[in-house]
Symmetry: C2
Subunit: 578 residues, 2 copies
Amino acid sequence: MDKILRIDVGAEGGPKVTVTELGAYAGMGGRAMTSMVVGSEVPPDCHPLGPENKLVIAPGLMSGSAASTSGRISVGCKSPLTGGIKESNAGGQAGQVMARLGYAAIIIEGEPKTDNLYKVFINKDTVEITPAGEFKMTTNYDLAEKMKALHGDKVAMISIGPAGEMKLCAASIAVTDREFRPSRHAGRGGVGAVMGAKGIKVIILDDAGCGMRKPRDPERFKAANKSFVEGLRKHAVTGEGLPAYGTNVLTNVINEAGAYPTYNFQKGQYADAAKISGEAQAELEQKRGGNPTHGCHVGCAIRCSGIFVDKDGNYITKQPEYETVWAHGGNCGICDLDAIAKLDFMDDNIGLDTIEMGVTIGVAMEAGLLKFGDAEGAERLIEEVGKGTPLGRILGNGAAFTAKAFGIERAPVVKNQAMPAYDPRAIKGIGVTYATTPMGADHTAGYAIATNILKVGGDVDPLSNEGQIELSRNLQIATAALDATGYCLFIAFAILDQQETFNAMVDTINGMYNLNMTGDDVVALGKKILSMEREFNRKAGFTKEDDRLPRFMKREPVGPHNVTFDITDEALDTVFNW
Amino acid sequence: MDKILRIDVGAEGGPKVTVTELGAYAGMGGRAMTSMVVGSEVPPDCHPLGPENKLVIAPGLMSGSAASTSGRISVGCKSPLTGGIKESNAGGQAGQVMARLGYAAIIIEGEPKTDNLYKVFINKDTVEITPAGEFKMTTNYDLAEKMKALHGDKVAMISIGPAGEMKLCAASIAVTDREFRPSRHAGRGGVGAVMGAKGIKVIILDDAGCGMRKPRDPERFKAANKSFVEGLRKHAVTGEGLPAYGTNVLTNVINEAGAYPTYNFQKGQYADAAKISGEAQAELEQKRGGNPTHGCHVGCAIRCSGIFVDKDGNYITKQPEYETVWAHGGNCGICDLDAIAKLDFMDDNIGLDTIEMGVTIGVAMEAGLLKFGDAEGAERLIEEVGKGTPLGRILGNGAAFTAKAFGIERAPVVKNQAMPAYDPRAIKGIGVTYATTPMGADHTAGYAIATNILKVGGDVDPLSNEGQIELSRNLQIATAALDATGYCLFIAFAILDQQETFNAMVDTINGMYNLNMTGDDVVALGKKILSMEREFNRKAGFTKEDDRLPRFMKREPVGPHNVTFDITDEALDTVFNW
């Protein structure tokens, strides 16, 4: 991880590669790297699909090492969805493989001179860029089959589907998992559209001949990693809930809390939630010969990813995440796990963010295009997106765009990005995060659910306004730092609750880099990242008015608690006062 | 003009009317009234289609009097297109009639409880609001026929077509002309969508029994008006060019200047411009028995509106304006006046801004939906808008929306509003206005063409950066004040060049209201209006980053002068330093 690969797609005769040293980016990984490159090199007022934007791909600081659960890879750019800075990260194999190849970042820059598509192949000896016109509008799963035929399934693939090629704002970047399935996605903010605008269809990363990244202080690293893994295994969420049921363990919990957004955020509880819960999903998978306990990359100690199969045991998709099950499920009034799995597969295959698409379909249902609960109709809509019909282009540009196209107010978005699976009126801490994170509505940016609902890292009443600003602030800082490490966000449950696990996590970094970081250094890194991101957004024209929930959420109470979002604007404006 | 009519469309059982005194709004007219009401009563962060937005309709201070050329009517709201404050004004009869009925403003507020449409009928004795479901999706011309059958053709009509009902961001509000044709439009900023969101289809204004508004000082008024009319008649633009050829007199002039945006602003000259010039248009109209010299309302001394007929002498549409001829013509590579007239009629009939639609079709052409020059294709696209197909909803939401839907950067917009018919790279003064007016790209907000090209009110080289800031500033101030009076903007040519005509204009106001306003008072009023508007936008989240031209115009030179827009951001930020 001591070099940067730059690909200038605007060069004469096609993309041109240069490899440079880290320079000012030394010590940066994941989100710290992507946000620093975007903040330093991308004019904040540029067009996200124009020549001045850059796509930055960066593994975390710990990726590629023996550190457990450290496989996240970050993708950054100016977002075509939000118009602000974006970091979206994914699991899968690519983070580990890229880190072992020694690249701390791939920076794709410039504007293609033609409509040609390109494939990038990287191994320890070379970087080859070749025309990839034959893969035009190829879906992610088909592309994986074709790449497997060329390169085997030990490599990692980063790719876009038709949505990215069409530069849709809901377009994701897919990353292959352990079985070379393009099932892990940097989903949010339309990062796939930026890759599409750069004319790069696929990146193959082959780490054959590369060893595991070596820690500078092997003993310290090994001891810390052992303690860290023990901590993950003993915590109820990371050691039991997530492995057994995946993230969908949340369905019953959030529904019970009255914060499960139903029918495009019209209600806070869904009568049929139990039918699509993690418990029901795991039972179904087990009965059919699927697998609810599976790691999305080698070396994961949590293994929340899972495999969803049909009644004959054939692979349908990875086990849909809670957010996906909610977005396509309760939010649309669809209580059929098979239908949801199909929609999840379609999103992954076309290369779409499942949250954005589920919320978009909810908006389309509210606008009267189809009825709540119409699973076949939802499938037809995703098909339209894949085909790039005019309706598909509306939907594929997301929930805010769709609401505007059909003239309705009720778009549950912040900074144009669709809200995830927690109603901010009934869990106010997450509302603060949705409103204020530089990323647009994003639960992962400061997952207040942990403390508001799961009582991890403390207990802050979700319905009270007390303590939510501080909670979101602290979580946003910690998350920004964590997103730099490559560690999966889900380790947060264990490290928030168990001081010794937090210490062990920090010590793995110290062992890896021979540092003496403390908790304070982690906080400082988090603040630094957030400050860079907010500065980019400010220069892009964002103001405090962008740090707001949609107005209807201040006006319309949501049942069963019959609450509006009533944290004041003035309070929201203090989140970044530190 | 001593009362305000409020219509609460959210009342139980349907819209409810109250009539109040002017209160704090005394002395306000036109844009001063609409911007003051919106600034005072509409929360800047509200959703433009939600319950908190208001639609304000206000005749100018001089409307309804014997003052010449004073028939403008202003419509204001928070714009669904720009997200900022909007004033869009129109000619036609409604301003005069409404003023004679004594209403200084109609304020439509609240949110309908049902999908019902309503008709508002106002005469000297009553305001009646009745269900208008039978007119659902009726086009403006059809609606005019139906209203004529009910009310005769001496009334004035304000209406929306299907576009407004569909809440599209390019939806206009139509105003009938002297012949009760819905040919004059408050076109810009999607004001029709706000009327649609309020559920008001049509307003009929019947001034039977109302006299002309009487000046407080009849002698002074009469003398001033006489001198004013003489001034209009003797100036070459208002006395000769506009009456003879309409606004389309500009085609050859702007093309000659190399600032005629061609093929979606790819070039600054159009080879076939002469074929669609005002000279060619007037000749064709005269040959066919149309009329190039016609006033859009009674009492206009300029009479630029004209009548366009087919080869058999049948009415097709009002004589298309320069902006329309350009937007659907040169900008789209269409050099057929009949095709352009057809598109103009379709826009008026569906209720669409011709500038926004022409620019949108140019963007669609650049995105590859159809070829430049394809007039039949352009017609098909407008038909799609009228039908509300998904493609129609993309296009009907304007140029920026269409560019986003199809993933292209080159949207010639500011604050999401399409640029009019002057390339700001080759006429830099208008670029300053496009960038900085609170309205989004709008030539009327500070018509620098007058001085940059027509050498009216001075001579500022269009290609130099010198003097453009000051020019735009002064014109924006003067225009804001003028938009409060009800006087047509075209009087500006005469009053900028002839001090005695300016004095006479001010004196008509003094005579009307028994005041002693001077030029300084006019400037003060203009500044007050602009300040209110900018304050609204600031609270709505606008920053200086919104006061910028699209980045591609700083990067791509436009021929024949091969110039980019290179007035610095810092200079733009000084426009409102006064």
